[in-house]
């Protein structure tokens, strides 16, 4: 049994919050570089150039890439052979978010209640998804989610008879509706299967997979490639002003489901698809 003090968790989460909001991951940088090469629209090229310049300024001057530094979504994989000491893990994660957002000059975008709407002033609480796994390590993936794109996300409860064509229509319809609101070029996370809530979590998890890395399942890989091509024919383009780059990537995750259902969730993310992973 390996012992881990929860203060180590708070410090790790703090560092992750600050880093992820100032430095985009390599897979997203590659996505920008590829887009610059393929874009044919003049206005599209100009906007991609400004977005790259924005990334450079963010890193050099330590200004968040986007002012919407998001609500902190955390996937926590806890090894079953870890013994946590010094306090409660959920409190420790939230303490990390608090320190990261307060000490890191990040925007506090969380309100205490969806109707009363009083700002909590430290961006807590986070949305945390726990998983118990084998081993004696703890792995955190943090994906701060901005709401310009989150608001354009959708869940569809399709029928089994709708099949893969139904899934394709759902994805395309969500992306079309999102249009310029979701700050394209987007990354599209799709969850297929499970239950109402499971497909939504899968879609969120899909956004944390490296852009450009495809599913191991043959038909899912085909779906990802076909959807990316179709989405990029929509001419929404960078900032919604036209062009070939409406999406950088389509990542699809699947899960077994019920004989009567075909749930599909489409979680849309902007071009600032922040994700970072650390292991303790």
């Amino acid at each position: 049994m390996r012992e881990v003090n929860v203060d180590k968790i708070s410090e790790t989460i703090k560092e992750m919050c600050i880093s992820v909001n100032h430095f985009l991951s390599d897979d997203m940088k590659n996505a920008y570089n590829n887009a610059m090469k393929t874009e044919t629209s003049e206005i599209g090229k100009k906007i991609l150039g400004q977005l790259k310049e924005n990334l450079q300024i963010a890193g050099e001057d330590m200004i968040p890439i986007c002012q919407d530094t998001g609500m902190a979504v955390i996937f926590a994989e806890i090894g079953q052979d870890v013994h946590l000491t010094g306090g409660n893990i959920t409190d420790a994660i939230n303490e990390g978010v608090r320190r990261g957002y307060v000490d890191g000059y990040l925007r506090k975008s969380v309100v205490n209640d969806p109707i009363i709407r009083k700002n909590t002033k430290d961006n807590t609480p986070a949305v945390i998804h726990y998983n118990i796994v084998e081993g004696d390590k703890i792995k955190f993936t943090l994906a701060p989610k901005g709401f310009g794109s989150e608001n354009m996300s959708k869940v569809y409860m399709l029928k089994p008879a709708d099949g893969i064509e139904g899934v394709k229509n759902a994805i395309l319809s969500a992306v079309k509706d999102a249009g310029p609101n979701a700050c394209p070029p987007m990354v599209i996370g799709v969850g297929i299967g499970g239950t109402f809530e499971k497909c939504a979590i899968l879609a969120k998890k899909a956004l944390t997979r490296e852009a450009g890395k495809h599913s191991d399942i043959g038909y899912v890989e085909e779906l990802e490639k076909e959807m990316l091509e179709k989405i990029n024919e929509l001419d929404i383009g960078p900032a919604g002003l036209g062009g070939k780059n409406t999406a950088f990537a389509v990542n699809v995750e699947t899960y077994p489901t019920h004989i009567a259902g075909l749930p599909v969730a489409v979680n849309i993310c902007c071009h600032v698809n922040r994700h970072i992973t650390r292991e303790i």
């Binding site: 963010a58 002012q67 609101n181």
Partner: protein, 176 residues
């Protein structure tokens, strides 16, 4: 076409702008987003004065991240404009001439833009670090308790934006 604009944003200026023009704004603009709009809407309903005179002014839909020591402002890009659609027509009828945000607007807002010879600009969503460089001064002038959602008076220099909906109702997002 690239056009330099100085505030106040008068009708002489807005009437010459066309959807697709790139503009660089210099002068004073004001920030307000969801919570500030709700409060202004309630103030109007109660017959109170607004903290900002709308006449020939520009509202930037933006809530910045906090400024580090010695800096003017943090990251400062646009938020989605459609959430302000409920409130915008009334402000336009009170003289507001420009809005800066990102994303689509409702028919009611577009009608109010046409009726008042106003204009809707987009700045680039997710480019908050870059856009912050055009902001030279930032002062909270109302609703301080709203934090990032307070109303700020910004002094901007060559702030880049794109005309999306012009005063004739031409809409750059509707290209097909």
């Amino acid at each position: 076409m690239d056009i330099n604009i100085n505030t106040p944003l008068t009708e002489d200026i807005t009437k010459k702008l066309h959807a697709g023009d790139f503009v660089f704004i210099t002068g004073t603009i004001y920030t307000a987003r969801d919570a500030a709009h709700k409060r202004m809407y309630e103030a109007i309903k109660n017959g109170e004065n607004l903290p900002v005179d709308m006449e020939n002014n520009i509202i930037y839909y933006m809530g910045p991240s906090p400024a580090r020591e010695g800096r003017v402002i943090g990251s400062a890009g646009p938020t989605t404009a459609s959430r302000m659609d409920k409130y915008a027509p009334q402000l336009l009828d009170m003289g507001l001439k420009g809005m800066i945000g990102k994303g689509k607007r409702s028919k009611e807002v577009i009608d109010a833009i046409k009726r008042n010879n106003a204009v809707y600009f987009a700045s680039i969503g997710g480019a908050g670090a870059l856009l912050s460089k055009s902001i030279k001064k930032s002062t909270v002038i109302a609703y301080d308790d709203l934090g990032t959602e307070a109303i700020r008076k910004l002094e901007v220099e060559n702030f880049p934006a794109i005309v999306v909906i012009d005063c004739d109702g031409n809409n750059l997002y509707e290209r097909n």
